[in-house]
Symmetry: C2
């Protein structure tokens, strides 16, 4: 048999052994030829194009009652056609509609990985960009929607003065009349620069460029010209491949922050979808993000501590030349959670605190200073 | 209070009354300001920007054991910023990550609907385009992946000769070396035209243009120039808004077929996600598709008869000037299922049969003729 490169996907299949094995066999056909197996022509298509079960065995953890199996299934590299869209289609296209199938992880050979640039900055590059070589990074969001550009810019100034590293638009701020995109982005970028001149630090403003497809790149260019030093995009709203396009644009060349809006359905249903580290780690990296925002455990969302740890692992697991990226746990985080989070994530983390910053006291700049001191002092006490 | 236009979303919330009501209140904040309610400034933001519960009551059907409630929640039209991406963000952005929430339906005022063109053709326009005023339409797919462009074109010719109305690329055919996009599309379009000259019918070839973002529009233009008379795209792979952009392109101006690959996670988990008629009906129409492909009941996927009926309703429910579109049930359909499907869907349906066409006999053209006769004779016997 001719030797051809293959990539593989580890699926978790619910059901007893016979049911799960049937699911695995079905995936081999459904995700490649989508054709009845017995009607396939002999030769090349059967031998190479149809998926192949490389291993199959029980997956049930001891605390689970329903049985489940792991199937590692490989596909010919050419089925993905060097396209992120088609790679995702082979991994989880039609079977996203079949219950009881979860993508646990993907394993791509170098020949396929080389077809993707991945994150431009990655962890190391982002630390350099921000001038923060070691400690966890501090991240906040400008909100609520309904404030004017001037009010948002004032808030950005106050946060930058307080020592925050990264200040982003709330993900709901796009181009509303209250704070139109160009006006908001210019004012916020300018406000952060003004604070930087006073503090001597290099806080960055990250503009939300989640937008209609025909405006995504132009908004990103505008943001860069206006002084934004990073871009946020929600890949489930614009398409994962649009994030890749943004990340690969050599003229824009800014760090990309991935936001999970509209993406939750892939992970909220146990037994269906894409496992947290595969979605927020591996796939997000392939799609070019330098940092991935997701809801932390203990906040107002439902991710568990184990799931968050798994995401952090997914952001750094080896993927050829595709760089490790920063996990950005957020979503209803409080300042009190910081020591525990440091314990879980270590130093290579970006703490995203939005509303929780306002709760600490009436002076936003003071609250930011407290946030930064809390992170720094916890680190010192860790070392001591 | 100033009068401002609002749109509303009907959510289904699992849990007892207090839990569900808390979820509804949470949605009002999460999907608009994403900010602690007690810290919001008085005035405009509280009065208009925060979501508003318009109604709340039990939703549990008699056969269900777990309680659930319906909340109808309204949002200021300006929060959506006239953008499909941001409208989806308000409807289901962050709460896609919170379990026990389903989007049942959306209700948009004319002022918002007018910001979207919707399907260019719709049901009536597609019937005119195809020259088939009344009967159900016949749809098949070229596969399996791994065949050469020449082999796929031969198959297209045979199907067109047999009286199929619409012949599409399988959704996994993009730009693989076995059948590169330009070569495949040219040959298949030419083959269908050749058959049309022989039959005097007007079968159309639909090219799959699901592609990397920077190639989507150029592939669509190529396909049109090569003679394709329709385009297929998987909106969950390229982004729903990319489908809208394709549909609104006045130079391309071809019917758009929406494919559900990678979209299943929104509907596979009971209690989470987006209800079938909202996703495959309302949202798909807003995003510009003229026909929506989804797995039929009784095939190899898991949608129920009731869910399929609901999708069909969603494709035609009133939405201002946004046209009704065709449901295209497919996915492991057999020819034997046709009479029952006619019973469920009536005449305004596109029957998509792929592998099932090959099973009937060795001569593909004969199989297609049988498919067409089956549909026509069932209609005649219905009338008799």
């Amino acid at each position: 048999m001719e030797k051809r490169a293959r990539f593989s996907v580890l699926y978790r299949l619910t059901g007893d052994e016979a049911t799960a094995l049937n699911k695995a066999k079905d995936i081999c056909l459904e995700q490649s030829v989508e054709f009845p197996g017995d009607l396939l022509p002999e030769g090349f298509i059967r031998e190479h194009i149809v998926g192949r079960i490389e291993s199959f065995g029980p997956a049930t953890a001891s605390h689970e009652t329903a049985p489940a199996y792991h199937a590692n299934i490989s596909f010919d590299v050419e089925t993905a056609s060097g396209e992120l869209t088609q790679l995702l289609n082979v991994i989880f296209g039609n079977i996203s509609i079949k219950p009881g199938i979860t993508v646990e992880s993907i394993d791509l050979p170098d020949s396929l990985l080389r077809q993707f640039q991945g994150p431009r900055f990655g962890r190391e590059g982002l630390r350099e960009w921000l001038g923060v070589p070691q400690r966890p990074l501090l991240f906040t969001a400008l909100k609520p929607m309904g404030l004017s550009s001037e009010e948002l810019a004032k808030m950005a100034y106050q946060c930058a003065l307080g020592g925050i590293d990264i200040i982003k638009d709330d993900h709901g701020l796009t181009n509303q009349v209250f704070a139109p995109f160009e006006e908001r982005v210019s004012r916020c970028a300018e406000a952060v620069e003004r604070a930087n001149r006073e503090t001597g630090q290099q806080c960055v403003y990250v503009a939300n460029v989640t937008a209609p497809m025909d405006q995504l790149i132009s908004r990103a260019r505008y943001a860069k010209a206006a002084g934004a030093k990073g871009l946020m995009v929600a890949p489930a709203l614009v398409g994962l491949d649009a994030m890749r396009l943004l990340a690969e644009d050599d003229e824009i060349a800014l760090p990309i922050f991935s936001h999970p809006a509209f993406q939750g359905s892939y992970v909220t249903s146990p037994g269906n979808g894409i496992a947290h580290p595969a979605l927020f780690g591996q796939i997000t990296r392939l799609a070019g993000a330098d940092a991935v925002i997701y809801p932390n455990f203990g906040g107002r969302f439902s991710f568990s501590r184990a799931e968050c740890k798994a995401i952090a692992r997914g952001t750094e697991m080896p993927m050829g030349a595709i760089k490790p990226i920063f996990p950005c746990p957020g979503g209803g985080m409080s300042l009190e959670a910081i020591p525990d989070m440091l314990d879980v994530y270590g130093r290579d983390v970006i703490f995203l605190i939005g509303g929780g910053l306002f709760r600490h006291g009436p002076d936003l700049t003071e609250n930011c200073r407290y946030f930064r001191q809390l992170v720094e002092s916890t680190l010192v006490s860790e070392i001591a």
